[in-house]
Structure formats: structure tokens, C-alpha cells
Symmetry: D2
Subunit: 147 residues, 4 copies
Amino acid sequence: MSQTPFPAVAAAIRKTLEGQGFTRLVGAEVVSVDPGVVVMGLDRRAEVLQQNGLFHGGVIAYLVDNATTAAAATMIDRTSRSVITAEYKLNLLAPSKGDRLTCRAEVVKPGRSLTVVDAKVTCRTDGEEKLVAVALATIANLDLKTA
Amino acid sequence: MSQTPFPAVAAAIRKTLEGQGFTRLVGAEVVSVDPGVVVMGLDRRAEVLQQNGLFHGGVIAYLVDNATTAAAATMIDRTSRSVITAEYKLNLLAPSKGDRLTCRAEVVKPGRSLTVVDAKVTCRTDGEEKLVAVALATIANLDLKTA
Amino acid sequence: MSQTPFPAVAAAIRKTLEGQGFTRLVGAEVVSVDPGVVVMGLDRRAEVLQQNGLFHGGVIAYLVDNATTAAAATMIDRTSRSVITAEYKLNLLAPSKGDRLTCRAEVVKPGRSLTVVDAKVTCRTDGEEKLVAVALATIANLDLKTA
Amino acid sequence: MSQTPFPAVAAAIRKTLEGQGFTRLVGAEVVSVDPGVVVMGLDRRAEVLQQNGLFHGGVIAYLVDNATTAAAATMIDRTSRSVITAEYKLNLLAPSKGDRLTCRAEVVKPGRSLTVVDAKVTCRTDGEEKLVAVALATIANLDLKTA
């Protein structure tokens, strides 16, 4: 765990995510950053849909990629280490018909070199949060000197 | 395999992909559609990068999602069936530093209800194609009447 | 959900698992079968270990394969349908040093053609259950007439 | 790559695999060990089957687990490092009805801390090798001093 006070860690993670060109293009927001848990969200608009008016699978994958990596980033000492996505698996469970996507990523097992994170993606549909995807990710921790 | 002549199938798949709101936002192109193989590509620009100037992992996932599903779509009779991504796993192998991403998806095993597809993503870097990601996807075939 | 009373469904699933040649070879037991949840276990002995005296990864995979498929089997009408493993992803989190493995598989999302199931594998070590693996599986439902 | 001559590396990997209690129980053989490629095989017998007389999915997973890890092990300097399976994803493509299973694991991308390996499993059926499973694995390299 970082030696830096957590609010400063959270602010740095949020700033990194929100500063990505692709995050601005997609229009996603960082909802919350807590130790081991990061939540991101995205409102419906035509530019993030596929041909049937559902949120595009690639948008769901973007949220999973970013939120899982950020959740792992909350567990390291950022003065000496950084994180990088090694791999993830994503299951799409139901059509994303609603007006807002939310991805909640939570660390399952932090490790010295690898952190395993799961993610649940819900779509707010008629006022209810419906589970639309689940994912399981492996995030690698790198020493900054060797990264 | 579809009863429709393949060029018409390919044109329909290309039109579907290029008509997606998210495809237009990302700026990706369908390079080729052949039986069992679909290639998509994307040029570098600031809006598709992450904080270190690499192509964003979510962009790679978008290409994998679309190209694998489209490759599976080349194997069905589109008059009676449609395809939907069930799941995929994506391994990121190397930083995507170059000027163009290309994703080539190829059917490993077509099936009545499920088609398995693999994908390789390369990044053109200093004129050479470098392998940056591999993926393995399961695409579900649905009967149109029940979809 | 099956029209057959659940205790009869559970007994049939248990009998199928325990009758497998490989289950008898491995020496695993069905701990419990409930709607959407199946638990299997295995005691330590030299024949199920790898070179460092840990439970072999293949034994963990065997438990995941069987327990996830059986959990999906609790959700179908067995008079007209059967289940088959389409794919799974397994993350090994920690060495399995203890004296007993337990795999708990739970349905995340039942579906008409596909059921998604997650699994947690723990190893009882010095009297405590330690999480050693997590998995995410996709199980296909087949019509018996077409299987 | 190891400083040790490759034949000695291959012999050490073969000895490790064949000495595992679970390998002896399953009855698998190491067919070949080459730089970046390991092949394992297993003949049909009642003890490795499931209820319908097919090779059990857990047997396929065992071969994938061992062969992918061993393929990664051919790429490291064994005097200072060791390998451990981080995760894999396995797609079952067709029933394994034949008389012998063969798993061929090949390194896709060796890395300093992670090696990505794919695997193809075939089942010899009526004299022909039929593809029955594909897998994609991430193997972690550990420094022996810190393992």
C-alpha cells in the first residue's frame, strides 16, 4: 500500500484517468476511487452505441480496462511502482439498453507482482441497475526503475 | 454458411460495423471481410491514446470485440440468424507505441450455437508490424425469431 | 428451471459427477448441490500434488470445470436439455499448501442458451480457508434432441 | 534464455513434470520439450473419462496447465528464476471421443515478468487429429530469491 495519504493517491489516479485522450472522447467519468475499489460511469449518447441502439461492447471493455487497472493502482506505492493491464476476460450477460453504464472494479487479491481484480458492469434501465457484464482481470505491478 | 453470395454478406457486415456510432467516434475502418476472417484498423490520433501516448487498451478491446464478432458473422446464414459476443479474453503483450493498430480476427471453430474466434492485434511501429495483443472470443449464434 | 422436484435434480447431478471415471481417480466429493450453487471438495494426498507439494493446478481446474457445469445444470429442465462447458478462465491466486481444497461454483446469470458461473476455490490451511483461485465460466445449454 | 545448454534444460523440465504425483495419477507423458514449445499426451482409459465416455474436461485442463507452464519454463534462466501459472482461459470446441489427447503449447510472447503461451489440444479420432480445445495462458516468472 502506498505511503502517500490515500486522498492524494485517489486524486492522482482520477487525474490520470480523466486526462486520457480516449476517456475524454468516450465521455466517461470517475465516480469514486477507494482503496481496492474504483467506480466509473458513462451516460448514453449516440456516439457510444452499436447498430441496435445498445451501448457498444467496446465501451464496456473500455470501462473494465480502466476501472480494473485503477483499482489495482490503489494498492501500490506509486512513488516506486506503476501498474499495467496484463489481461482480462469479459462476459457480456445482457443487452445494455438503458441510459447509463456503471463499472465497479474491486481487487480480489493484491500481490507483489500481480493483482487480480473483478468487475461488474450495470446498466440503469427504467431506473433499475441491471447487471450486463462481468470481468476478471490480471494487472501487473512494475518497478518504476525497470518499467 | 450463408446462402447469400459472399460479396453481399461482406458488404452487409461492413455497413453494419461502419454505421455504429461508436465506430465513427473511434474512427476505425473495416480493412477486409473474408469468409472467417475480418481485419479492422485505426490510425493514431490523440483522442485514442492513454496518458503515456500509447493506444488505449479500450481501443484495442473495441477492435477485438468488433472484428471477432464480424468474423463469426461471416459463417452464418444471415437470413435466419444473428451473432452476439458472449465473451472474450484479451492479453496485452507490448506497448502500442506506433502509428496504426490492426486487428485480424479469424474463426478457429465455427459451430451451430457458438463460434470460437481468435484475434491478433499489431501496431505499426517504425514501419514494422509488432504484435501487441492476442485474444480468444466466444460468439453466440442466435435464431432471429428468438433473438 | 426444471419441472422435476429439486431434490431429485440434485441427486441426479450428484450421481453423474460421482460416476465419472476421472472423479473417482481424482478422489473428489460433491459436498452440496443447491439451486444455482454446487460445492465440491478434495482431500490432500500425494497423487493430487505437483512437484513442490502443492495441490496441482490441474486438480483445481478439474474442480472448477465440474462444479461450474453442475451449478449451471441446476438451472435447466433436465427432461429436455443438457449442459456442456463452453469455456472458462481460471486465475491462480496463491499456493495451495493446505490439507483440503473446496470449490464453490455459483450461477451469476442463467440464460436460455448460455449460463455464466463464477467459482471460488479455497484451501484449508492451518484450519483456515484461504482463497487460492477464482474462475469465470460459460456453460452452454443444449436441447437434448439436437445435442 | 537459460545459460544452461538446452538439452539439460529440457531434461530438467521433463523430469519435473513426470515426477508430479498428479501426472503419474493421470498417466500423461511429455512428448517433446523444445525452446518455446512443449507437447504432452495421454492415452484413453476409463479413469480419465467423464460420464459419456469422452475425455474429461479436467484432463484437458491438466494438460493445458502443465504444457503451457513448461513451454514458458524453456524461456527462462533456471539458475535464477522459476515459473508459475498466473491464469489461463480454455475453450472446449468439440467432444473428445478419440483414443489419445495431445496438447501442444507454444510461447506467443516471452517477457521479463510474464510469458504468454497458447495451446491447442487435439484428440486422435479414427486416425485423425481433431482440434478439441484451445487455450491462452499467462505464466509469471519469479526470481528464485523472492519466490
